[in-house]
Point group: C2
Chain length 313, copies 2
């Protein structure tokens, strides 16, 4: 038995979309919340944010630099000059609006909305900080969302190096839904994201009104282990192979030593030669070609979470 | 019975990819042909072209202007100044290399490779000029390709206004394969395109070596009728609805009056109110948002094609 946890109510929460300007579900979902003028969630004040309006305007991931890699303490405290990339300036604006990151004034909860070209279903991404509040939100979403399988991905990064927008919040996570081509909005993917956001807001209402949440086990949790790179021609730097048809769309399935991983353009199969059976995810994510990442590998675990209630109840 | 047709051999042919810089199957297929140094197809000389290298470099459809709309007589003959868009200059270069368009020196056959985010399977796009040579290539591909359904789309445009790269050739068509996100390459989609190109080259070998092709009927032909636009908010110009889940991925199926067409972000269904039963295609193509095109509608016909043989045989 873990000790029960009590935490203060969530009085200010934020939902952000368009942190990547070509990930359309979040853009349209936030616009719809703004159109409905939804400013309260039970007792909590809701802030909705279109994170990267300039990138949305031109339907690109970013203008100068990936905004969702700009929220480290180092970048947020860097001096602004004439040469400062647009996204660094925007990250500092967003930290001022929703934070400052790491301060007592920061939003109690920040949830940032993303899409992937990979078959990610509904994935919730958090830093590996065992925050019982976020883990209870994840468990609630796993139990309530019906439109897609729900996984939790945990990144093992200290808070000062946490680079994503959501890390501004005292409690934080990202919602990643796919597959959806960048620059496109699909109704099925939009509806999955909407269900996840609706259930997040529903959980906040319950928590703030004093509901108790039992301790539990959370399954379908993946710890990031490593990334696998594309094979490239050393002379031209062009990729020489593509994700193998037997791996494509099989995010979160098992990858065993000897399983096909890539198919070269001349028709040869490249096999996975790792020693450990792991779970691939972000398989063939369009935005990761420039980072040379073909997919990530994770280890599946089960987490035990303590019971949780609002402080003072 | 139609009169038999005889045509000169195809002595110079071109395969082009990367006309849109983020449509990755064609880019990699042409690079692979270049790596293999494939310069002959039977008796025909093969030219392979990476059409828009600057757009490929930054993984965008185009730099200044859609290259595949730049091959009209008007644009190809426009004077070049310092302000001329990159793609207009590149179109004039490509017309000089593969044409000039409309001249006796033009390539005998130009085939241009494209991808779509829509569920297009393998679609062959031609101008509605009833060219028996192209129709025989289409029929051959329809009979030989096993990896995807094969349709033929015909655009009714006079040759001087034909705007696409392939229109430089004496005979010409485009190959469109999907669904594939822009900026991503999938093995399954690459393999469909490769099968289509292999069968095109195989047909050229047969034709040039004197094979006779019987007259026949070609089915699965779609004539472009009209485009359907996204509903937009007149104030913000944002789209207010997305392709309905019952229409998404159903390219070339029947759309009947009263069928769902769009789903608004607030959850309402917008129905098709046309009077004619038609076939949607390019449904939710990512590159068409900026053109405000949600999908095209076509009429399905069957074409009768004459027998064909090389002149002099």
């Amino acid at each position: 038995m873990m000790d029960p946890v009590s935490l203060p109510p969530l009085s200010r929460i934020a939902i952000c979309g368009g942190t990547h300007g070509n990930e359309m579900s979040g853009v349209h979902l936030v616009r719809e919340l703004q159109r409905q003028k939804m400013e309260k969630v039970g007792s909590a004040a809701l802030t909705t944010v279109i994170s990267n309006p300039c990138a949305i305007q031109v339907c690109r991931r970013y203008i100068d630099k990936d905004l969702n890699r700009c929220f480290t303490d180092a970048i947020l405290s860097s001096p602004v000059t004439g040469d400062t990339p647009y996204e660094v300036r925007r990250a500092q604006e967003l930290s001022a609006l929703l934070g400052p990151k790491g301060s007592v004034q920061a939003m109690d909860l920040v949830c940032d909305l993303h899409n992937s070209t990979s078959n990610m279903g509904l994935s919730l991404i958090t830093y590996f900080n065992q925050d019982p509040l976020i883990l209870h939100i994840c468990r609630h979403i796993q139990r309530k969302v019906t439109l897609a399988p729900v996984r939790l991905i945990q990144l093992d990064t200290p808070h000062s190096d946490a680079y994503s927008l959501d890390s501004i919040g005292k409690h934080s996570f990202s919602i990643e839904v796919g597959p959806q081509p960048h620059g496109v909005i699909r109704a099925d993917i939009f509806n999955i994201m909407k269900e996840a956001v609706d259930q997040t807001l529903e959980w906040v209402r319950c928590f703030n009104s004093g509901s108790a949440f039992e301790g539990a086990e959370v399954d379908n949790v993946y710890i990031f282990v490593k990334s696998v790179e594309y094979p490239r021609d050393p002379e031209t730097n062009h990729v020489t192979a593509v994700i193998h048809p037997q791996l494509q769309d099989r995010d979160f399935c098992l990858l065993r030593p000897g399983d096909p991983m890539f198919l070269t353009f001349s028709g040869d199969t490249v096999k996975y030669e790792g020693e450990e059976v792991l779970h691939p995810f972000f398989v063939n994510e369009g935005a990761y070609y420039e980072k040379n990442i073909a997919f990530h590998l994770g280890r599946r675990i089960t987490l035990t979470i303590p019971s949780l209630q609002m402080k003072g109840h």
